[in-house]
Amino acid sequence: MATLFAATTILFIVVHNIPGDVIYVWVYDIVETYGVSWEEAERIARVMFLGYEPDKPLWQQYIDYIRNLLRGNLGYSPTFRLPVNAIVASALPWTLFILSLSLSTSFIIGVLLGMFIAWKRKTIIDPIVSAYAAFTDATPDFVTAMLLFIFLAVRLGLFPLKGAYDAEIVTPGFNLPFIANVLWHAALPVLSYVIEHIGAWTLLMKGSAVSVLEEDYVRAAIARGLRESRVVTAYIGRTAIIPLVALIAISIGSMMGGSILIETVFTYPGMGYFFAQAIGRMDYALMQGLFFLIIAGVILANLVVDLIYPIIDPRAREE
């Protein structure tokens, strides 16, 4: 809780120190769109932002913000002319969907592959994976996303160009065409994350498994005549995975950060996409609201990891 409070305060200060005034973004827009004079546009803009009072002292704004936050109200987004809560409610499920799908895919494949490499030792996959991980770690995730977008979506037309589903073709609900359509739209964003993260997970698992490999209980398990598959999964994998679980929480944070650009590339209506819009539009309320959610998400993920850690590692249980 204290972490959350500190984070929101720092967040407020940082966001409000971003140079530029939101009003002029709008004024410029109105001038461009309606061809009215600058003064007229400024008047319209001020009317449009009924709840926006840039002349109020900052500390007053801060208190308002915290008060609203405590009531569960994240504010009002002038850009979309919607409460931030409503935007979050529509965007959060998509981001959670994409993130959980990418995280579980890259985690599971990475863990299995890492375990395999550690067990087989000197295979040619080992240097290949290391090189791959170094390469993808050095590539920003939006570059991967853009390459996928350009080649698979634009050039080859295999995947949709934008959105989370085609509203004209399918009706939301628990029906097969809708689910298929959603997965089809999610494929490239998910693939971008997986391509970016799978190498790192594999290397982490390999490193962890190699150190477990030296343990006496692994040798003892082999001596007990256990089957290879059983030794690798229950004795090596099972213990080697423990430190990786703690990293999941950290990974969620970095993936959320990555979502800003990835979702923008694919025009995917998740939190990251709205975040990018909020930054472009100097939409303080939306920015703060989304930041707050990301922070809360990371803290929550850490909490969950703390809770499940004793379940996967009996040594961490309290007597």
Binding site: D216, A220, A223, R224, G225, R227, T239, D313, P314
Partner: protein, 322 residues
């Protein structure tokens, strides 16, 4: 003694480790018979190659270790020639082993009971109830409270308890040969004594052949029937325990026996062997013991003494007896 009917025969075994400095030959043409139904002890200093020998038998050599040549027969079957699946079946079903660091031989994230179940199911089909019933029996044999131990995680048990769990586990499939690699080295004296008594009981009740690997001579004197002495990757002397202790032939064995401190004896009478054991990376030519041997001759410096039978069941590798 039953030299004619050994359960395990190691012949001319050469095991090497690839290390950065070169190649370490940890077993240099080792031949050893393990007599059926007896407690056989393999004695030597740290680094003399005892553990390497039993690891080669179990097929659990570290990744940088390999068998260069030699044969290992388990009841007339060369186990080095078996395919991996046949080899896997022999482990624990025929030859079980209590590892040097037995305290770390249990998976930290698995309950003790799961170890028993895992082990049995890898070899035969048996119901969980049957397995647990047998486990309880064996745990009682090693004087542990089955209910408390079976549901515990390894970190909840003491070192001595874990050691006894491993011994119970090793008896689960009624193996014909039980290898114990330094079973007492990590335990305090009281627990050691207790463990030796347990092992004696197990041996008497089950009639199981044991190969005890140790550097602890008092333990050997207490429970072993036959003893093989290893020095610097080679077997230097083999014989019955009384003969080894009362009439050691090889100068190294002699030195070893006389280096045991006694509580009542005069410490000044203790005679440690002069010098240091040689490095396996660069062993001395000829007899490996010659730089430390009071009887060394020119011949010892140039030629390796073969291991020869000087009397029935008594082998020694020294030119004084060849």
């Amino acid at each position: 003694m039953s030299e004619e009917n050994p359960i395990l025969r190691v012949r001319d075994l050469v095991v090497e480790y690839a290390v950065r400095e070169g190649v370490i030959r940890a077993n240099d043409h080792v031949s050893l018979d393990v007599a059926k139904g007896l407690v056989n002890a393999l004695v030597g200093e740290s680094g003399s190659g005892k553990t390497t020998l039993v690891d080669a038998v179990m097929g659990t050599l570290p990744p940088n270790g390999y068998i260069r040549k030699g044969e290992i027969y388990f009841k007339d079957k060369n186990i080095l020639k078996l395919n991996p699946e046949e080899r896997r079946k022999i482990r624990w079903e025929k030859i079980a082993m209590v590892f040097q660091a037995a305290q770390n031989s249990l998976n930290p994230v698995m309950r003790v009971a799961e170890h028993f179940i895992d082990t049995v199911l890898a070899h035969k089909s048996m119901s969980k109830d049957e397995i647990l019933r047998k486990a309880e029996e064996l745990l009682k044999l090693v004087r542990l409270d089955p209910e408390q131990v079976l549901n515990a995680f390894p970190h909840e048990l003491s070192g001595g308890m874990k050691q006894r769990v491993i011994i119970a586990l090793s008896l689960m499939l009624d193996p014909e040969l039980l290898i114990l690699d330094e079973p007492t080295s990590a335990l305090d004296v009281m627990t050691q004594h207790y463990l030796i008594r347990t092992l004696k009981e197990v041996h008497e009740k089950k009639g199981i052949t044991m190969l005890l690997v140790t550097h602890d001579l008092p333990v050997v004197a207490e429970i072993a029937d036959r003893v093989a002495i290893m020095y610097c990757a080679k077997i230097v002397e083999v014989g019955d325990v009384r003969k080894i202790f009362y009439e050691p032939l090889h100068p190294y064995t002699h030195g070893l026996i006389h280096s045991i401190p006694s509580i009542i004896g005069d410490l000044s009478k203790m005679r440690p062997i002069p010098g240091e054991p040689p490095s396996l990376l660069n062993p001395p030519p000829g007899c490996r013991f010659h730089p430390r041997c009071p009887y060394a001759t020119e011949k010892c410096k140039k030629m390796e003494p073969p291991l020869v039978e000087v009397e029935k069941g008594r082998l020694v590798a020294c030119f004084r007896y060849a």
